[in-house]
């Protein structure tokens, strides 16, 4: 970890007060007189740091507190406790110098103006972020090339497909070349090709400008492609902070042995749990500690054409993490 982290979070908490009311008219009337609320701890004293230039995956199931954390870090939400500093700023003060260096992209929210060509929305951001014209033009050219925006720029946003719009949203959010990117489900609802495109673009942006990225996604492919390090939260608490590979090591007690045999149809259930069997290739789930022994037995007892030992898919590992809580 570098001496001065880009993002530093200490005991950060957020508690919401939500009204409680049962269904029905009687409860509705009662709530008029006596309004009941309860405290919901969306984020509970989490700690982590992100070094400049690092890409960190922020993982957790729905309602884990990911978006709340991103909102606190970007400055939209005031923390209930603890503190966070981003580039040395306290985000909730929303100082202009801070806002000019960050961006928050939410996959399900639009910032582009629906009725006018994409380039006009870009122009508004140029003026609002006070980007110098030549620098702006250069950035638009670069982003156009990287994201293949050429044919989209003069189209009204309402005429774009979801994927096209998302590419333009991402570009609009990066025109001012932010040093910090908060990305909340940036690939949500996109097809695989478009997801890949956004992903490779983000990797390129990070390389080119040394930007720090904190990314949430339900698509593990995003996380695997972009993030060496992941922070996992669940019920507002931090469960894991470390390398993605370490997460797999720690939380997956199994390995998957994929084996192809000469004589298809042999029963391999004595070696482990058969989880898949397609075209003569059988996948066996075996306890991690027994992997070497089972592999040895398979090789000596069966006519093996091919054998590989794999870590389970990251989705399964994440499921394990949450199942264990």
């Amino acid at each position: 970890m570098s001496a001065v982290p880009a993002i530093a979070v200490r005991d950060l908490s957020k508690t919401y007060e939500v009204p409680v009311r049962e269904g029905g008219l009687a409860a509705a009337l009662k709530s008029l007189v006596h309004r009941q609320t309860r405290q919901v701890e969306a984020v509970k004293e989490i700690n982590f740091e992100v070094a400049p230039g690092e890409i960190v995956g922020f993982l957790g199931p729905n309602g884990a507190g990911k978006t709340t954390t991103l909102k606190m870090l970007s400055g939209l939400l005031y923390p209930s406790g603890g503190q966070c500093r981003v580039l040395g700023f306290e985000p909730f003060k929303r100082q202009r110098d801070y806002l000019r260096q960050i961006t928050l992209v939410m996959g399900n929210r639009n910032q582009l103006i629906w009725d006018i060509p994409v380039l006009d929305s870009f122009e508004r951001n140029r003026a609002i972020y006070r980007i110098e014209r030549t620098a702006y033009q250069r950035t638009v050219d670069e982003l156009t090339e990287l994201l293949d925006l050429g044919p989209l720029l003069d189209k009204p946003v309402r005429n774009l497909s979801l994927g096209e719009r998302m590419k333009c949203e991402v570009a609009a959010a990066l025109l001012h070349k932010p040093q910090i990117l908060f990305l909340d489900e940036p690939t949500i609802g996109l097809d695989v090709t478009m997801q890949r495109r956004i992903r490779s673009f983000l990797a390129e942006y990070n390389q080119r400008y040394g930007a720090t990225v904190l990314l949430t996604s339900h698509y593990m492919a995003d996380v695997e492609a972009l993030c060496k390090r992941v922070v996992v939260i669940h019920h507002g608490q931090l469960l894991f902070d470390g390398q993605l590979s370490e997460l797999v090591q720690r939380f997956s007690p199994h390995k998957t042995i994929v084996v192809e045999l000469e004589n298809e149809g042999s029963d391999l259930s004595v070696y482990g749990e058969v989880v898949d069997g397609v075209d003569g290739r059988v996948s066996l789930r075996v306890p991690k500690a027994e992997t070497a022994q089972v592999t040895g037995r398979l090789l000596s007892e069966q006519a093996v054409l091919d054998l590989t030992v794999e870590d389970p898919p990251i989705e399964d590992v994440i499921e394990q993490v949450f199942a264990g809580v």
Binding site: F92, L104, I113
Partner: protein, 267 residues
């Protein structure tokens, strides 16, 4: 300063482009405004004629002039933010505005003015057409036309800030229709829209002098009809400046509290 000028010219340009997309809706809005003026004008003209040509010092021609000017004042000063903010908060489109390095009020000023400029292209010919059709009586001295420049500008600004501040109620509750209704009913009554304030009971006239509505609409209208003495205009300007200061202060206060509340509860 050059940065802010660039922001405003860019916002104007793009807002005009947006509004061009809604030509039909815009025309319907404008028709509504003209119909409103026509209804009041017809009713009061009929009343005047049934009373032997005059009501409280207003002839049919005076009513025509009054409602034509009132229509233009309504057009020049109105805002839609009390409805817009509720939508912004509900739809979540308020959050991105908070994360841009520009106070959202600048966007709203630019949008409002660009709308006014664009629609004047339709409103001015409509006004001249109504002048031709209803034979209004104007006794406007030249000084009053000049005095109308700061008066109309102040009326626009004070109404803008009052309504923008009230629109921020949406940061506490997204059910703002009820509060909006109360405001618009008061505006209709105390601004001289429903009837010239001179025809209203004494207590309404006294109360309207203490409320902001009169200074938004009735005051510039009466000035342009030549119904005010220079000292009344100076008093009116003073009232406008006081209300503008109050609205500005209220807006600043409500904004900082509203945003703090919004950032406490989220969206």
């Amino acid at each position: 300063m050059t940065g802010l000028f660039d922001i405003y010219t860019t916002l104007f340009r793009t807002d005009l482009a947006v509004q061009f997309q809604y030509r039909a809706a815009m025309v319907i809005w404008l028709i509504g405004r003209v119909i409103e003026a026509l209804v009041f004008l017809s009713v009061w003209t009929a009343v005047a004629e049934s009373q032997g040509g005059q009501v409280g010092g207003f002839s049919a021609g005076d009513f025509a002039a009054y409602y034509i000017i009132m229509m233009m004042m309504g057009h020049l000063t109105f805002t839609w933010f009390m409805y817009e903010f509720e939508f912004r908060v509900r739809s979540g489109s308020f959050s991105p505005l908070l994360l841009q390095p520009l106070h959202p009020i600048h966007r709203d000023i630019a949008m409002n003015i660009s709308y006014k400029l664009l629609t004047l292209v339709v409103m001015l010919p409509t006004m001249f057409l109504m002048v031709g059709l209803f034979d209004p009586t104007f006794n406007t001295p030249t000084w009053a036309v000049w005095a109308a420049v700061p008066v109309v500008l102040l009326a626009f600004l004070m109404r803008f800030f009052v309504e923008w501040a009230l629109a921020l109620v949406a940061l506490w509750t997204t059910r703002t229709e009820a509060a909006n209704q109360v405001y618009f009913a008061a505006l209709l009554f105390f601004s001289g829209q429903m009837a010239p304030l001179a025809l209203m009971p004494e207590w309404v006239q006294s109360l309207s002098a203490l409320l902001p509505f009169r200074w938004m609409l009735a005051f510039p209208t009466e000035l342009l009809l030549g119904r005010l003495e220079p000292e009344e205009v100076l008093q009116g300007l003073a009232a406008q400046v006081i209300w503008l200061g109050l609205a500005w202060g209220m807006m600043g206060l409500v904004w900082s509290r509203g945003v703090r509340r919004y950032s406490a509860v989220g969206s």
